[in-house]
Symmetry: C2
């Protein structure tokens, strides 16, 4: 019984590892060829496993796409959100989000840049569960940035008249631009420009 | 002979009109389904003409894509560039480019936003003549903005220490962001935020 249990655990552990590595490959592929081209057949060819093996994990293209989004979300959290949440609330945390996002691009975690910016651009005019889940990510990420800006304003770290809709829009502008440009150019200057634009915008107000 | 000539001209004129209307439909479609999905068969179905009729105009998918880019470029010039070039060189012209671009989005000239932002995002990781031509457009457009900023700086309409690489990057950030968001939201607030961000950034330096 103990043996069976251990074996069972091993099998589950192997299964989990296989599923995670399949989804990491799927997420990477989605940022270059597109999430919509992520078919069970195409992904099976790409990672060199059997189509029937992959079909056992994900019974439809949509299930594969949704699981890929969840996997990419976990990677984004571990890589960008969690480290930034260790910074003190307010302006420092807003800067930590910006830095962590640009570092995520710099390290090329996904070959096409940011998984969510890539796939949201692809799905932005469609409807359905994949598009809805991507929209949920956008609200999550923009909500995190917004909360850090609100805390910064409350703490007097931003101009009291600062329009946070405008400031949030501007931060997102530069993040998207860096995402679009860096995977093509692979030029650190792109990330430096985005970083400087956001730092300038998040500067402390001048003492009056 | 005169008759033949007139007929010849009529035929050519009809041919030109047909070709222009086909390409306008192709450019519109490219901003929603993608330039890469613009096949001769798919476009023929979409606009309700025969595949053989369309094939007579464009002998390959690539020829169709390249002709679509030229048509979109002409539309962009007539709609955005030419009106802005009537503004005086310098800061006023930079603002005119920004205003004309946002107006182009507001009027929904292409259903997916800016033709060139859409298709460049789609082709940015590829090579070949389509990708090369899209890159040429980017240099053209960014060059126009850059020239207006340089003239503004020379005329003392910007801070003499202004980093024009940074300022150009920021203008492009907000343009891209508006392009990505407005076709989904259809909310004038998106264009207002982009407009305000760019106006703030292009403000006159404070008198010293």
């Amino acid at each position: 019984m103990t043996m069976t249990s251990v074996e069972g655990r091993h099998q589950r552990s192997d299964g989990v590892r296989t599923r995670a590595s399949i989804l990491a490959a799927a997420a990477a592929l989605a940022t270059t060829v597109g999430l919509d081209r992520l078919s069970i057949g195409g992904l099976a060819d790409h990672i060199g496993i059997s189509k029937s093996g992959l079909f056992a994990h994900f019974r439809s293209k949509e299930a594969l796409q949704l699981a890929t989004i969840e996997a990419a979300w976990q990677i984004f959290d571990a890589d960008v959100v969690d480290p930034a949440l260790r910074a003190p609330a307010g302006r420092q945390r807003a800067l930590a989000f910006v830095d962590a996002y640009l570092d995520h691009l710099r390290r090329g975690v996904f070959p096409g840049g940011c998984f969510f910016a890539s796939t949201s651009a692809e799905f932005h005019l469609r409807s359905g569960p994949v598009s809805a889940r991507l929209a949920e990510f956008q609200w999550y990420w923009l909500g995190l940035i917004r909360a850090s800006l609100e805390a910064a304003k409350r703490a007097g770290e931003l101009d009291p008249d600062e329009d946070l809709d405008l400031l949030g829009f501007e931060i997102e502008s530069h993040s998207l631009h860096a995402h679009l440009l860096y995977p093509i150019r692979r030029d650190a200057r792109v990330l430096d420009l985005a970083h400087q634009a956001m730092r300038d915008r998040l500067r402390m107000p001048r003492p009056t």
